[in-house]
């Protein structure tokens, strides 16, 4: 299994780069407390003055913020928030999308119509505005981000899973299971579901990216979780504290680049593995 994965990565440089980015971010998140040179929330001092707006130096590889916090440490800790939001939301999207896709594809009929109808409604809800309104009416934080991502982004996964299930349903072994008296539920979850999971995981890797972008946008607009140290919150602080007019690139460039890298990793992995799942596209 591992060897097959490694061989796949060698043949697909796109997917290999994506996996490498994920690996780096995972290491950052897991070992943030050991890798970070400073406490990311501590206001550092230079003698009696707050060490604010320090440029890049050997003491602060990425400088400091307007309140004297170490940017590198914040970026490292930000990986934790990113992984947390990304994985939770991606799991939720994939779970909902796969379940509804499975039901619609396998049962067909009115179940299918209801799912199609639901996804039409959901596609009519603007993503960011919906999240903002929800945050305003409840309370801002990661919960709203995860909920919005899960509630609004499942149709893509569901559509693909549905198509896949519809073709699987006609295969001989499903027919055989039906004839031997397997219950519908059993066929769906024991026989069909495992077949579509790789495809679902593929959509999950893209959903991680959307969730992180959503969290970043929400934080940037002031609807993030104020107690979490995320890349989005860092960007919001930088924007609000004149980092742009001061030209403090060391402050606002790294968190955005980190977000970009992580979202890009999802794209690259899905692009690479598309060829694995859909050999027809291999020529492109």
């Amino acid at each position: 299994m591992v060897r097959r994965f490694l061989r796949f990565l060698r043949g697909e440089p796109f997917a290999a780069v994506g996996a490498a980015i994920y690996a780096v971010i995972a290491v950052m998140a897991i070992f943030a407390d050991r890798l970070a040179p400073y406490d990311p929330t501590a206001m550092l001092r230079e003698g009696r003055r707050i060490a604010k707006y320090l440029p890049i130096s050997s003491a602060h590889w990425l400088g400091t913020t307007s309140s004297g916090r170490d940017v590198l440490s914040q970026v490292l800790y930000g990986a934790r928030a990113a992984l947390e939001v990304g994985l939770t939301a991606a799991f939720a999207v994939v779970a909902i999308g796969t379940l509804l896709g499975l039901l619609a594809g396998y049962l067909g009929g009115w179940t299918d119509r209801v799912v199609t109808w639901l996804s039409d409604i959901v596609l009519g809800l603007p993503f960011l505005p919906f999240m903002l309104v929800l945050a305003a009416l409840t309370h801002p934080g990661t919960g709203v981000v995860v909920f919005t991502v899960a509630a609004l982004l499942w149709p893509n996964t569901a559509r693909v899973i549905r198509a896949q299930v519809m073709s699987l349903r006609e295969r001989a072994w499903v027919e055989a299971a039906r004839v031997t008296g397997c219950s519908t539920l059993r066929i769906m979850f024991v026989h069909v579901l495992p077949q579509v999971l790789p495809l679902a995981a593929l959509y999950g890797s893209v959903a991680i990216g959307w969730a992180i972008l959503a969290e970043a946008s929400a934080s940037f607009l002031g609807f993030g979780d104020p107690d979490t140290l995320s890349w989005g919150v860092m960007l919001q602080e930088a924007y609000a504290n004149q980092a742009l007019s001061r030209g403090a690139w060391n402050w606002f460039a790294p968190p955005g680049a980190a977000i970009m890298a992580m979202v890009l990793a999802g794209f690259l992995i899905s692009r690479g593995s598309e060829k694995l799942l859909f050999p027809k596209l291999a020529g492109q």
């Binding site: 039409d120 009519g124 809800l125 946008s217 940037f220 742009l244 492109q284």
Partner: protein, 324 residues
Amino acid sequence: MARYALGRLGHLALVMWVVITLTFVLFRLMPGDPTLNFLSPSFSEETRAALLKSFGLDRSMWQQYLIYLGHLARFDLGVSFLQGQPVASLLAAALPNTLMLTVVSICAAYLVGIIAGAFLAFRRGGVVEAVSIPAALATRAAPEFWLGMLLLAGLSFELGWFPTEGAFSPGADPGSFLAQLLSADYWWHLALPALTLMLYLLGLPLLLMRATMLDVLNDEFIVMARMKGLSRWSIVMRHAARNALLPVVTAFALGLGASVGGNVVVESVFAWPGIGRLLVQAVQGADYPLAEGAFILIAAVLVVMNAVADLLYSTLDPRVVRRG
């Protein structure tokens, strides 16, 4: 065809109704006193009473819902708490700015994306492809507002080429929308937000055009066109591009609808006076009538553009009509 279009129209109306109802439920059923959501604490006792009555907030939820629908039908969206003006007129003032930003940037993105994507389909392999495809993916992966921040810091603050915020220089508001369109100052302010959005939107048409073009170029009818001795122009434009454009045009309509809502962050970065910024201000200031109005407007644009995309696809691809 007409029947198909009519069917889509019915579908559109249905989806719009559900979205509107959902909005109503969302704004009324949230925890806390719903009347508080619509009555600013700063209103005088008289205003409160009048508003209470006009919204029917003293009546049952069902009656409130009917009144809400009635108001919507007359574009009466209530009065903004913060600005004290009718929500409808605030939205009407902001909508042209949002549309300008969206239309200019998405048109530029699709123009560049389609040409570059088609070009890349002809130039397989090599450095150009190795660089441009990851680059296109990267612009799609970057947060829009961060792209905006980079451009703002570099082109406005460091180099001073573009203004840093708003739609006009201070004191230069030309008034009417037409006058805006004719003022260079407006376009100068529009440039950077539009560039940001364009960069963000560019990846999709480019990658899509390249992929479908590659698909189409392998099709038998392209080989046949060459056999017929047709000119290269005719082969590429009439046959290859026409077929390859189908999904791209659909994506354009969908993207137009989605980016009106997605503009929220870009408008905030550049303080561009559009619907998105209005929504953010309303939500931040607990200005519920304005937030509700802006949300419904953005959702309406999205729903309509989804339907347009559908209709466009069936007009451009004769094979679809059969199924409809």
